[in-house]
């Protein structure tokens, strides 16, 4: 296909010519499914939209023509801006609108009644649209769908939900063409499989990957600390880099770290350089202000998190700074792609390790980038909790036939091998609860009626189902507002769990300001600007990525070197010290270190299996300790080690690390542990067993609600084979439990280990001591603690003498 004259002219006025991969995408416009793999800055979005724009320019179209789906609300708004420019300049009459969680109610109603030509949205908003009774009318005549940053969606359940929604649209409009836009990934075939309308194939188009990035690690005069993720030491050096560049993006792995860094950056920002902060927990108005400032080129630096991780094309970004080890080479490469959006110019990036262990991780990651070695995990079968939600969404839109819905679902790559029995079990769960005890025959949620179709028993439940659409697991958050008239200025959100730890007068950071907690009013955290104390840090539930297998292996290899010319002296010295007082972990052996700290016995087990697997190891080993009477109190896991503390010291590590003993009773252990309960809660919400959004229930306080743990325990006791228990087990094994990496670790190490007992914290264990994410063990030690704490309270109150 050649470029029509108006487009040719428009390219010419810009001084551009069409990129080869843009032409390839144009040539493939009639394929049922096309996947473009291109680095950022390659005009990827335009490549995806060109066929739509040309078709709309040449053939008048009524209603929705192209749907664009991206993982981020911000991306939808950004694309709207970027598309509007060529459309306006070419004088095309194409209506472009976005629709996300941030779109107003009135605007959303208008869009349903009169859809634009191009609608920009997110997977959740799309799923919601398909749940309306008028979905067939909204999507009537739709021709194309563009899925941006599909590699990011493919990593989570959001991708599965999106593909199920696409299957629905494809049934409504069988001619629908699919376009996927992806950053560089290790396995394009996997994404092609995910996005295809089976059995139709997906055609893969590769763009030129561009030159190698210019990427270095920051060397500072100041020593990086032993532990922590703040990287405060790097601030003078970072400010210096910001001064030397037009616009710098400063990425952090978590929101809490971003807040703290931003706060410290401003304390040192003597020249008042315009530096802003952007992350998902900030108030929308505040985020939009930053986005606008970026577009206008008014900002010199933006401290951000994954919210800006994806292909947002703003302003003149010429430097990426990554604070903290990148954990995963693929993610690092994609982040680096943010800098220098001119095609064929190398991107510039600087890695800033937050502590000395991360120095080692950063050097390992640099080596991997140089060798263009990406990492990734194989994708698994479509999760059934998402499928259950999809069945409920379908029922909310219209009564359905089970046969037709099944046929539609197996046209999705991730569900193409779903058996009819598995589908029927999910349908039964949605209809009756799927319990061995058939208790709800009268109150079934879905009923098979005489017309052969499944109907909602009570049409009003559609409203409740819609309120629970989505697969992102938000922890319960509370809005934060400045105390004052008219409700006060909204600042953002914090986790309910964090809010519960605050008492009046406590201070915390949000949006870069220190605020003082004044109280809770109608589920809103009231704060004032009186900041006279060191802030506590607001905790946000950010996804914690496990260091990839590739990086872990590279680090173990580095430890075996005789010396470390690539490492800064401070880090090399630290490793030397560890080698002298203890040992460095090596391939094929566990390293175990035991030492007392803060009145408790601590044991660190270095397995280098990634955070999730180390966490599972922690659960398995604390269970063993419980059996051995060692009264474990809790543990924490990092990517390379598990640290356990308890009341009794570990003297015989062999009894703890016996793989046979650890595997024994694994099922029983798995059933009873906290990870399973957390996983169960997530799946129970996604599958529609319990509700996420019930503002009334939350406002009425906790009396009416009870914890999902009780549901889990009840099912475990009376209906252990229930569908949701199967799903929970499946999810836990591959997600939080990551059992495959435990098996890999035991295959690697067998039961070979070195146990070093010291009288204080070892150099290598130092970073572990300040890690967050401690998991308590609810065993015998819990009752011991409760009794001790109670006795102390009674004693202090004087009540102990009054009673008896």
């Amino acid at each position: 296909m050649t470029l029509p004259a108006p487009f040719e002219n428009w390219f010419a006025t810009k001084g551009w010519s069409i990129h080869p991969h843009q032409q390839d995408m144009l040539n493939a416009a009639d394929d049922p499914s096309v996947l473009l793999i291109a680095p950022t800055g390659g005009g990827k979005t335009l490549a995806g939209f060109l066929p739509s724009l040309i078709d709309l320019a040449e053939t008048p179209h009524d209603g929705l023509h192209t749907l664009y789906v991206s993982p981020l609300k911000a991306l939808a708004a950004d694309i709207k801006r970027n598309l509007t420019t060529p459309v306006t300049e070419m004088g095309l009459s194409i209506r472009i609108e976005d629709r996300t969680g941030d779109t107003t109610y009135t605007q959303k109603r208008k869009q349903r009644a009169d859809p634009p030509h191009i609608l920009l949205t997110t997977p959740e908003s799309l799923a919601l649209l398909t749940s309306y009774e008028d979905a067939p009318r909204i999507f009537k005549g739709i021709k194309r769908i563009v899925i941006d940053e599909i590699h990011a969606l493919a990593e989570s359940k959001r991708g599965d939900q999106l593909m199920l929604a696409l299957a629905r649209l494809q049934s409504l409009e069988p001619g629908l063409r699919r376009v996927g836009l992806s950053a560089t990934v290790e396995d394009p075939q996997a994404i092609a499989h995910l996005m295809a309308h089976h059995p139709d194939p997906t055609h893969i188009v590769h763009a030129d990957p561009g030159p190698d990035p210019d990427i270095t690690m920051l060397w500072t005069e100041e020593l990086p600390p032993w532990s922590g993720g703040g990287a405060k030491y790097s601030i003078p050096a970072v400010i210096n880099e910001v001064k030397k560049h037009n616009t710098t993006l400063i990425f952090h792995n978590t929101r809490a770290q971003a807040e703290l860094f931003f706060h410290n950056l401003w304390l040192a920002n003597t020249e008042n350089l315009p530096i802003a902060i952007h992350h998902g927990s900030l108030d929308r108005a505040q985020r939009q202000k930053v986005e606008a400032g970026m577009v206008a080129g008014q900002l010199r630096a933006i401290v951000c998190t994954g919210t800006l991780d994806l292909g947002i094309d703003w302003g003149d970004v010429d430097l990426i700074i990554q604070i903290g080890a990148p954990k995963n080479v693929k993610r690092l490469v994609q982040r680096i792609g943010r800098a220098n959006h001119r095609y064929n110019a190398p991107s510039k990036a600087i890695l800033v390790p937050a502590n000395r262990f991360e120095v080692v991780e950063c050097v390992a990651a640099l080596a991997a980038v140089k060798e263009r070695k990406l990492d990734g995990d194989p994708r698994v079968r479509g999760p059934r909790d998402v499928l259950c939600q999809h069945i409920l969404i379908s029922a909310s839109s219209a009564p359905f036939s089970a046969d037709a819905l099944y046929a539609e679902i197996i046209s999705c790559g991730a569900y193409s091998d779903l058996t009819r029995t598995e589908f029927d079990d999910c349908l039964d769960f949605c209809a009756t609860g799927g319990y061995a005890l058939r208790a709800y025959d009268k109150w079934q949620r879905l009923q098979l009626r005489d017309d052969g179709l499944w109907h909602l028993r009570d049409p009003r439940t559609a409203q409740r189902i819609r309120m629970n659409v989505g697969t992102i697991q938000d922890t319960d958050t509370l809005k934060v507002r400045l105390r004052g008239r008219a409700g006060g200025k909204p600042l953002g959100e914090i986790e309910e769990g964090f809010a519960a730890t605050l008492t009046q007068g406590d201070t915390f950071l949000i949006g870069g300001q220190i605020v003082r907690y004044e109280g809770l009013r109608e589920m809103t955290v009231q704060v004032s600007r009186r900041a006279d104390k060191t802030p506590k840090i607001a905790t946000f539930m950010g996804t914690k990525f496990a260091t990839s297998t590739q990086l872990s292996h590279r680090i173990l290899e580095m430890f075996q070197a005789a010396d470390w010319p690539d490492l800064p002296p401070h880090t090399a010295d630290w490793l030397d010290l560890q080698r002298n007082v203890s040992k460095l972990p090596e391939h094929g052996r566990f390293l175990v270190e035991s030492f007392p700290y803060n009145g408790k016995a601590h044991t660190a087990i270095y397995g280098f299996a990634g955070r999730n697997a180390q966490q599972t190891l922690g659960l398995l080993i604390t269970k063993r300790m419980e059996e051995l009477g060692l009264d474990p109190l809790g543990f924490l896991a990092t990517d390379y080690a598990t640290l356990i503390w308890g009341l009794e010291p570990v003297s015989n590590a062999a009894t703890l690390l016996d793989p046979k003993k650890l595997r024994q009773g694994f099922d029983e252990w798995l059933a009873g542990n906290a990870v399973m309960k957390r996983t169960f809660k997530a799946s129970a919400i996604i599958s529609g067993l319990i509700e996420r959004n019930s503002p009334q229930a939350r406002k009425s306080g906790r009396q009416a609600t009870f914890s999902s743990d009780i549901l889990y325990e009840t099912l475990l006791k009376y209906d252990p084979d229930h569908l949701l228990m199967q799903i929970t087990r499946e999810e836990a094994l591959r997600g939080l439990v990551d059992f495959s990496r435990i098996e890999e670790m035991f295959a690697r190490n067998g039961n070979r280990f070195d146990h070093i007992v010291r009288d204080r914290v070892t150099p290598l264990a130092t970073p572990l001591m300040l890690e967050v994410g401690r998991i308590p063990v609810a065993g015998a030690a819990q009752d011991r603690l409760l009794a001790e704490a109670a006795a102390e309270l009674m004693e202090n109150s004087g009540l102990a003498n009054i009673e008896t």
Partner: protein
């Protein structure tokens, strides 16, 4: 200290770890807020179908308490049923189970806000029940003396080293006892909540339930 013994207006009472209250001298076993049939009511009203096993779980625990104490009288302190449609909510086997538990002892159903009227089970149906110095009712009254009540589902949190442990609890002072909810599908109200703070005296204690009872001073504000 598996059980917690105390006296209220001269009556010697025992708070059991299960959340039931035992008065040995009169042979009275008291439980509150069982909310039987809750999962059925939620399915009927909201369309969510929770595991329908909470009735058998609550009755299993009630039966264990009965076997343990062999009471002459059972007092259910109200909200025994999640609503008045008990007969349609409960499975036949569960109805028979309750009838079997009632055999050979007297049974008092106190009205609650969820079950404000006669229920279709044998036994005595009362707004309140007076025995010796004690008055058994669903909701505590500010002026009440020797009052055993439920309704609020109190729970108490204790900070112990690195964690907070939260359990349903009895709130006890020299005038009254507020009982924890006995039902399996029941949430709790923190003892720091205003109505509980207003009802209980300065020297009130909380008796936490669990595998054993744990006694702490009630949190005051």
């Amino acid at each position: 200290m598996n059980k917690y013994s105390f006296s209220l207006m001269g009556a010697n009472l025992v708070a059991l770890p299960s959340g039931a209250l035992w008065w040995p001298e009169r042979g009275i076993l008291c439980v509150s807020d069982m909310h039987l049939g809750k999962s059925d009511r939620i399915a009927r009203r909201r369309g969510s179908m929770l595991p329908p096993y909470e009735v058998r779980d609550t009755l299993t625990r009630l039966e264990a308490a009965i076997v343990d104490t062999k009471p002459q009288t059972i007092v259910c302190l109200g909200d025994s049923f999640d609503d008045l449609n008990a007969q349609i909510s409960l499975q036949d086997s569960e109805v028979q189970w309750i009838t079997r538990l009632q055999a050979g002892r007297s049974w008092v159903w106190i009205e609650g806000n969820h079950d404000p009227g006669p229920i279709e089970f044998g036994g005595t149906h009362l707004a309140e029940f007076n025995e010796g110095p004690l008055r058994f009712c669903h909701i505590a009254t500010p002026a009440g003396r020797g009052e055993i009540s439920g309704h609020y589902h109190p729970k108490t949190s204790i900070k112990a080293k690195d964690r907070t442990i939260s359990r349903p609890s009895f709130l006890v002072d020299d005038q009254r006892v507020i009982m924890p909810a006995f039902g399996t599908f029941t949430g709790g109200l923190r003892d720091s909540a205003t109505p509980l703070q207003a009802l209980m005296s300065e020297t009130a204690i909380a008796v936490l339930t669990g595998t054993r009872t744990t006694v702490v001073p009630m949190q005051r504000h």
